[in-house]
Symmetry: C2
Subunit: 351 residues, 2 copies
């Protein structure tokens, strides 16, 4: 579970609350000029700019619900917990600037484990150029949880909502879909194999892309920049955390429109296709319902199509229609199938 | 545990994640003109004003660590979870404007229980005039947890840090201290009595102020307004969440100063004094180490003393000294006792 297995285990309680916070946060550097005061007071202080709007988003990750430490290294978990939040900021067409990080951990976790977790958070903060400006660290009676709030800014006119898609707009998705979900299936299978035979050495090489998408996802920092350089302002945008269908339905509901998407246009990595065959799963279903891709889904005016045509990061997968036409998938065979939300749902009956 | 015991229990899973969020957040109204977009997109959107700075603070409350539902009604818990965060905003001499609320609950909690919790949150939001603009709702494998992030604003020149106390400044505390801690002692005692005899009817009347301070604390919304009307800008400020000594030591460490406080100046409610006698506890120790008072502790220039003199909300309890003189309590008998932090510590070895 811990990358550095040689370290002696130091109990969380031995440092005390303030000692632990000082210890874990000492590596955080302030790089944003808007950060007036980071960690170390009752609250962080951030400078404002009247030409900008602020976006604020928060996500809660719990052990046993959102992650499994038997195959998720703590450093990766820290990294992913940041990414999940930044993805929501990019989905507003904004630039993340600050985060707060709250952690609760049971006594099962020594200080060295939390250091690993914070190492992942620090790495993500460095790569995405954000400041960690606050948080809370406490004990829990069971397991580990991470609550992150991300703040970002964008010029007023750039902020992009879910609610402004219009009839005839094109529906565009970044990257490819379904890989994070298939990575999870591969890791779950290896966990079962390991339980039966702890000496088995899994060969994850054929699934390297899938496993990376599950364990070390990235947020699409490049997309708001790319769209700006192409002079395309999306009419609506959302990030794909719960699966493509669920996100399309959010845009259609919020924008009061319908939509047709085309099965043969959904971007899939070859590893997703081959692993779906191996697992006897339908790759379209996985792309629609898999979740955790952290790609962006957005709509653009039809007139903007020439600007994005042929871009390797972007796939046009459908178009917006009048609300009364409903939301449909047009299959490869030409069948028109109503789209339903079957995105990954953390509120199931388990636990 | 639930105020309305007649309601049928509805499982969280039956509504689904989005259904549950819609259900719980439908009563939140937007009242702040800076709230451009509240709940319902990837992130909330907030307008900025270059003349203002933003303050951001976050707190995590866990069942079994920070609260005990055997005597804490869920509505009160929701209220208190908001207050704890707002207190940090007021401690920056700022006005809270928005919060995000993330909740995780195990299947032990029906939807009706979460409705109670949100009723408390809604009540606090109404009284303190803040908007709930986002959050996350998920299942947990055990117990209930609440993670709140509060945002506030203040004119740049008003923001008050822990680090600007100066030699000869006066140390001032609002309200009175120790009552919340003694309320907890009373409730813990009644819980033990109840375990032995479930038919016992506790008479909490003699402890009404103490129990209210523990179960329904308020944040000092009035103090930044009062100080403004008195034309007093505190040189430093902090809220008292972990106990007076701990907070004094934070100011002294951050400001690189020393301090003398006077035992006979510490404000105590008569119920604290009588209940401490009953429990055979020293009331000064309780005021210094009790915690959860959510009063404000601040320093002012000596020249400002006439402006605050005689104000019933404010007590001058000591004065700032040179760093090398250290941090001391001057006892009623005139003894000089070094102050140590013994504030309530959520990172103990239990659990």
């Amino acid at each position: 579970m811990f990358e550095n297995k040689d370290n002696a285990a130091t109990s969380i309680g031995s440092l005390g609350e303030f000692g632990l916070i000082d210890h874990l946060t000492k590596n955080f550097k302030i790089t944003q000029k808007s950060t007036v005061k980071g960690i170390g007071d009752d609250a962080a202080v951030i400078a404002c700019d009247s030409a900008q709007q602020l976006v604020v988003t928060t996500d809660l990750l719990l052990e046993g619900v959102h992650f499994d430490l038997s195959y998720m290294p703590l450093k990766h978990l820290g990294y992913k917990a940041v990414i999940v939040n930044l993805s929501d900021v990019y989905a507003m067409n904004a630039t993340p600037t600050q985060i707060t990080v709250s952690i609760a951990a049971s006594n099962r976790f020594p200080v060295e484990a939390l250091e690993e977790l914070y190492a992942g958070i620090t790495t993500a903060a460095g790569i995405y150029n954000i400041d960690v400006v606050g948080g809370d660290t406490t004990s829990s009676t069971k397991g580990l949880l991470i609550s992150i709030t991300a703040i970002g800014t964008a010029p007023k006119e750039d902020v992009t909502y879910r609610s402004e898609a219009k009839d005839t707009d094109l529906l565009v998705v970044t990257g490819d879909l379904g890989a994070a979900y298939m990575g999870l299936q591969v890791l779950e299978r290896e966990k079962e194999v390991f339980k039966v035979n702890p000496n088995s050495q899994p060969d994850l090489e054929p699934y390297s892309y899938l496993v990376e998408r599950q364990l070390k996802p990235e947020a699409r920092k490049d997309i708001p920049e790319l769209l700006k350089s192409l002079e395309v302002k999306p009419t609506s945008m959302i990030d794909i955390s719960d699966g493509l269908s669920s996100e399309i339905l959010h845009i259609c509901k919020n924008s009061e429109v319908g939509c047709n998407i085309y099965e043969d246009k959904i971007p899939l990595d070859p590893q997703v296709i081959s692993t779906c065959e191996e697992f006897n799963l339908d790759s379209t279903t996985i792309a629609l319902s898999g979740g955790e891709d952290y790609e962006l889904l957005f709509t653009i005016k039809m007139d903007d199509y020439p600007k994005i045509k042929g871009n390797p990061h972007l796939s046009v997968i459908g178009h917006i229609t009048n609300k009364k036409e409903g939301v449909h998938l047009i299959s490869r065979a030409g069948a028109k199938i109503p789209l339903i939300a079957r995105g990954w749902n953390a509120l199931n009956e388990e636990g």
